[in-house]
Symmetry: C2
DNA sequence: ATGAAAGCGCTAACAC
DNA sequence: GTGTTAGCGCTTTCAT
């Protein structure tokens, strides 16, 4: 194996510029107490030699590690990747996170941790100890896992919670799921729907409750009853099938269904097909997530699109700013989702 | 900002177990010259204290960095992520790569580098200097970029080339695109097709030429002419549209078209729709990649599915083995693609 | 404003 | 088999 030694070190730069290591270090880190002309000379040497600091060495000396860990749920992420159903959550997270990180010399590194693991603290602790990241971005359902939150808070690690709206330790960033659910429900009501069913997501996700709340809210505001119209689900296709069947078996079935994610919406679409129910003529259908495939189903599904890339970009930015010691607004951040109407919605069938 | 110091270091373990640092180090790295009972005692201390080595420190001392960089083309990857067309190349790469890495205490870290950049060596060099990875996994088109290959070889960095079949520096791993193209073409010929068009991919990708070769080969073996049936493309939707139009404008148009990727196949599907050509009755259509959405088009597209997860898992394994000093077979590796027949293929229309 | 010294956590090289 | 020493590349003290 090749001896791996840094080709160009701070020492080379210092020698080349005729200054001390310290001065070079100050220039690299934009620290004060360097005369402009000195700084310029050092910069020239850096450019000439093609010097890039080793993040391992920076980390070792007690400074930043320039690493941000994005913590995703192992089970769910792997299931998504294996099923190849086009879930692009991780892609969107990387899109926002990596670009923001790159702009500041940071790297984003994806870690999979099982939120149900009995040893979750050990797993997390291991990842932290090995990587020594400057910050951690939590994604649902980790964002609401008290074991993880406590651990990070205790260790004083800077972190962000994506999909959380509560204040508390760590930056909270959410996508206004309640508002989105309310808007969608209102949209359907405006189309003339009176019985609108909701297929809920897993309780483990905070979003699930918000979506239910938004739907309830809009229904109540319109004076509509929700009794029996809430079907439990867990984001899986199978649970979507069960929920859709339950809703459509109702004595007075809904004329519109909102599914809390795309997989359950696809399941619902399948159920309607089996029953010979036309979408959107006999049943309107809306989903959450807006993964790529819902644009290709027949009909394409109207969906709530969530700005995951924006959210993860903001999360990374907050962590970087905080790490750099810049003043940061720690208030919970809400980045609105958008409703994308497509062919799966229409006025209810006239009786 | 919180002072970031390792909570438990090798020193704590050594003290706890009553041995020297070196012995602990040997145990961590599974090195010889440690009596089983000693090793056991050390392991016990490690477990009790929850010790995990800092990879920064390991790197610093000239050992492994436990990092593998996966180098993807910046422009194309970002375009895929932004367009949200369900391209799951990166997901599949992470699936295979991350799991293999994790099994050996490694991490995979995605880097985006523009293969066309004038400063590509500088970009690469910066990433290497900052991260000091133990190995690099090249993806197309980087796998065939001589600037990158030379750079890595010169620096004696262990690397793998995904999508390359030529021997040479670095491990070559490919998916038998030529064989897959041959099989698909033969499949169509067996269905009765005589005029089979091919929409080629970008020249920048080695795969493009192989797919053409496989198609040519199968056509020749069946005594069929390919004159005029090869349409250039560059993997983009727009190029697919142009290519499909050119093929279908032929005096004697093909009864089947093979597109070198899903986007161009989708474009072809659109063109057929505009022209009122029924797929598969009037035209059979096959694509390469098998991204999630092609299962949801109407009709769903038959496609060549490539084992990206397997390939990246093998690539990571090769790098890790080599880094660990284990004997490794450096021969080019071929992991076959599989053809997934779906509703878009049928016998040609009878005249 | 600049430099010198010490040390981060770990492993290579060398003793014993 | 085990321990000791030196040093990786950088930043943090603390001098000057």
């Amino acid at each position: 194996m090749a001896r791996r030694r840094q080709a160009v070190t701070i020492r080379h730069v210092a020698a080349d510029a005729g200054v001390s290591l310290q001065t070079v270090s100050r220039v690299i880190n934009n620290e004060p107490n360097v005369r402009p002309e000195m700084a310029e000379r050092v910069q020239a040497s850096i450019a000439r030699l093609g010097y890039v600091p080793s993040i391992a060495a920076q980390r070792m000396s007690g400074s930043r590690s320039y690493l941000i860990v994005a913590l995703n749920d192992r089970e769910r992420t792997l299931a998504d990747w294996r099923s190849r159903q086009g879930s692009d959550w991780v892609n969107q997270m990387l899109l926002g996170g990596m670009l923001t990180c790159a702009a500041h010399g940071y790297r984003m590194i994806v870690e999979l941790v099982d939120t149900h693991s009995a040893h979750i603290e050990r797993e997390l602790s291991g990842a932290i100890a090995a990587l020594q990241p400057d910050g951690v971005i939590l994604t649902p359902p980790h964002s609401a896992n008290p074991l993880i939150l406590d651990f990070l808070e205790k260790r004083q690690i800077v972190f962000a919670r994506i999909g959380s709206s509560a204040p508390g330790p760590g930056f909270a960033l959410s996508t206004d799921d309640e508002g989105a659910a309310r808007d969608v429900t209102r949209h359907l009501i405006d189309l003339g729907h009176r019985r609108i069913g909701l297929i809920a997501g897993s309780d483990e996700y905070e979003q699930s409750a918000w979506r239910v709340a938004g739907w309830r809210d809009a229904m109540a505001a319109a004076g509509l009853d929700t009794a029996g119209l809430l079907a439990p689900g867990d984001f899986s296709f199978a649970s979507g099938t069960r929920a859709a069947q339950a809703l459509l078996d109702l004595p007075s079935p809904p004329t519109a269904i909102i599914a809390s994610n795309d997989q359950m919406a696809l399941a619902t679409l399948d159920v309607t097909r089996e029953r010979g129910l036309a979408v959107p003529d006999a049943l309107s259908l809306v989903s959450f997530d807006d993964t790529p495939i819902v644009r290709y189903t027949h009909p394409p599904l109207a969906a709530v699109s969530q700005p995951i890339a924006d959210v993860s970009a903001r999360a990374a930015q907050l962590i970087i700013d905080r790490t750099m010691g810049r003043p940061v607004d720690g208030e919970p951040l809400v980045i609105p989702s958008t409703f994308v109407p497509r062919g799966s919605i229409a006025p209810p069938p006239s009786r």
